[in-house]
Symmetry: C2
Subunit: 433 residues, 2 copies
């Protein structure tokens, strides 16, 4: 079985990390430099770096798999091996390293300094990207992982047998709390299961958090009282730690079920504190992730990235969507979403699976391909225009999404199912690709 | 005066951010898309986005300065303007946007989601990098900034009129607490002012934090009792927030004066909590920064990056060094260091300047060029091999650094000064470039 399928390190007391590299150095030398720099080594071998110490603590090169040559370096500033100059071949490869767990202990911040850290700046590399990490289940004694995840989100929203249909409050900033609550009421009446703040909306003076949550939750509580349906509202609590804990408690007191945080803005330790405190689902927004992902030659893949945040305790995370409006291609979107639903640890350990959130340019159109590629309904399917811009109004927009997922589940082409379902038919006409 | 010189936004109630972009879109359109996406806009103009709302909350394009054309896109996945296909010209430019402070308030996490956030993934851009941010001094009511910085670090170390001479404990991991303390004692006796843990060394079972700090501080306290010289030891407290606060207190109780954190591992809110709690200097390690900086086409410059951390409260930050062993060139190193010493806010507001830490392949060699380029002695000059590998031993290594900086201050060529100073002469022979 491949690593990707098991997600288990080869040895249970070692951390493993897989990288894409590009280098003018012999590949084995390059891998050894990575391992040395991130464990016992330094630029100059020091007297203290004994053989015994190396045997116990040195990172190990587990594998080096050559991928191919490149003509020009992907990134500038890298160096050449000694005594070489002029144009020399650069190779790309996948390298897997491992470390004894004892080097950093079960600490996500220190794990990050080890598997990422200074590696990206090392001179021999004109490209180096972290592709994946595999961790021993010992980390579960230090981190709680998700509290609600798929099952808890279904329980809180009462949605089973189909994706949770979500949407976002727009415009991002500028609406008053009353205007926001009015939009939320309209969206709840249209039948959505989930509504989130925009990540740009936090606690500005024009729409202060406390007042916004009070108004929005009142609208959603009224809706629940009238219809029995409790819509999940992911209130953006991003801020300093004391603010986030206070805002979490305000949401809980107002009857809410979810809070949202911008992961890259708050960092892992803040999320850990929030998770310990939380009685609500935590919706992870990955804005800023493009900094890690946009270059093929540096940063880290979402596959590696999301594992840190899952262990730290998010329940949902954004993965874009098929044919989205950003730069990410469909294969990457699906790989990300599948990873969210793949256990990080084998039973009897907690798998820490979470709910992927599909969004960005989503309408009824992408449902069948999404289902086919993912093989699961365990996702939040968020549409903005796909609901609001439906010609027959937002309620029809939501119904068109239900119908699209019914067709997907039944394995029927959308066009066929649309002959019997007017909302889907109108959606396919409106949201032509 | 240019922005770079004043570091003040044009209007005192607006945030400003400067970007490098690469796009196939007309530049003004591209800039408008950035501004729209990160404020009132969405992919589709929604009914709520009224003209009044836009006037109050929309981000503004302050300037667009064309830089030149590129033949091929720097990053893959970007899109073309409507009705265009095939090879079309891509332009690069510097774009400055501004936002009303009210959009995100004086919140660094929410500022980050605004000035960085989803921008990097926007389809029209085959390159987009955040170059700088300028903030109104209102942020000083929410953040404390550095507590010790240059002056406090000089007071704590008793070093005046020259750089603080530092070194790092090596090997990174694997030594026992006793071995670590023995190395520290040797380095103190050699005359260093500052010693730091490696960022890979935190609280592993082979060198537990509490025991390491106890042993190391005992050695340094003994040294201070004997010599009157208090060496600053930056103990790596990186971890979860409760761990960091506890470790900070252990260091303080043991008589230490400094703690170190891996910034990218802990995040801004955790640093803010640590700063509020801290009675010791905070040494900021930027490992992982390569992910933001290695590509010219995505991420953010150190100039922007370090402003967030300075406001949040670090006292020192790493900037590599001239002719370092990483990929960063000298111009970037000097620009980073100068920025650390440049006030973020004009008097009477706190400037939040901090102490840059030069390291990586540093020896006596780089002192004159560093002084010339920086125009200041307000730095930590850290050398590993440059001290330990000196032919006459580490004390001579430290003296060679003092002599090199004396020469730099006097404007004398190193070779001339070396004729009268044997340690410097030996260093120049040993550390040939």
């Amino acid at each position: 079985m491949s690593e990707a399928q098991t997600n288990q390190p080869i040895e249970t007391n070692r951390i493993q990390a897989r990288y894409w590299i590009e280098t003018a150095y012999p590949l084995d030398d390059a891998a050894a430099i990575m391992a040395g720099e991130q464990s016992t080594g330094t630029f100059v071998r020091t007297p203290g770096e004994t053989d015994e110490l190396r045997a116990l603590y040195a990172a190990r090169v587990e594998s080096v798999r050559e991928l191919g040559m490149v003509e020009t370096p992907s990134l500038s500033g890298s160096g050449l091996p000694r005594k070489r100059s002029g144009p020399i071949p650069r190779r790309t490869a996948e390298v897997t390293l491992s470390w004894p767990l004892a080097n950093m202990g079960t600490s996500l911040p220190n794990l990050l300094a080890t598997v990422a850290g200074n590696l990206f700046e090392l001179k021999p590399f004109s490209g180096l990207k972290l592709l994946d990490v595999t961790l021993p289940p010992d980390f579960l004694s230090a981190y709680q992982g998700p509290q609600f995840a798929v099952e808890g989100t279904r329980r809180l929203t009462g949605v089973y047998g189909r994706p949770v249909i979500g949407t976002i409050i727009k415009p991002s900033v500028g609406m008053t709390t009353e205007q926001t609550a009015a939009q939320v009421r309209m969206l709840a009446e249209a039948g959505v299961d989930f509504i989130k703040d925009d990540e740009l909306q936090a606690d500005g003076p024009h729409c202060p958090f406390e007042e916004r949550v009070a108004h929005v939750q009142r609208a959603l509580n009224d809706h629940a009282d009238r219809t029995g349906k409790r819509v999940m509202y992911a209130a953006n609590i991003t801020g300093e730690i004391d603010q986030m804990l206070h805002r979490h408690d305000l949401v809980a007191a107002a009857g809410g079920t979810c809070v949202m945080v911008s992961l890259n803005s708050i960092g892992l330790p803040a999320l850990v504190v929030l998770r310990r405190h939380a009685t609500l689902a935590i919706h992870g927004h990955r804005n800023g992730w493009g900094m890690f992902s946009r270059s093929h030659a540096t940063g880290m893949s979402f596959i590696a990235y999301q594992k840190f945040w899952r262990l730290a305790g998010i329940d949902h995370v954004h993965v874009n969507g098929l044919r989205n409006k950003f730069c990410e291609d469909d294969a990457s979107v699906i790989a990300s979403a599948r990873e969210c639903l793949t256990p990080m640890f084998a039973p009897p350990h907690k798998g820490c699976t979470i709910m992927p959130v599909f969004s960005s340019g989503q309408s009824a159109r992408q449902a069948p391909d999404t289902f086919k590629a993912l093989g699961s309904m365990d996702l939040i399917y968020a549409a903005g225009g796909g609901i609001l811009a439906h010609p027959a109004g937002p309620a029809a927009g939501v119904r068109s999404l239900h119908q699209a997922w019914e067709a997907a589940a039944a394995g029927m082409p959308l066009a066929d199912y649309a002959t019997m379902h007017g909302e889907l038919r109108a959606a396919l006409e409106r949201f032509a690709e």
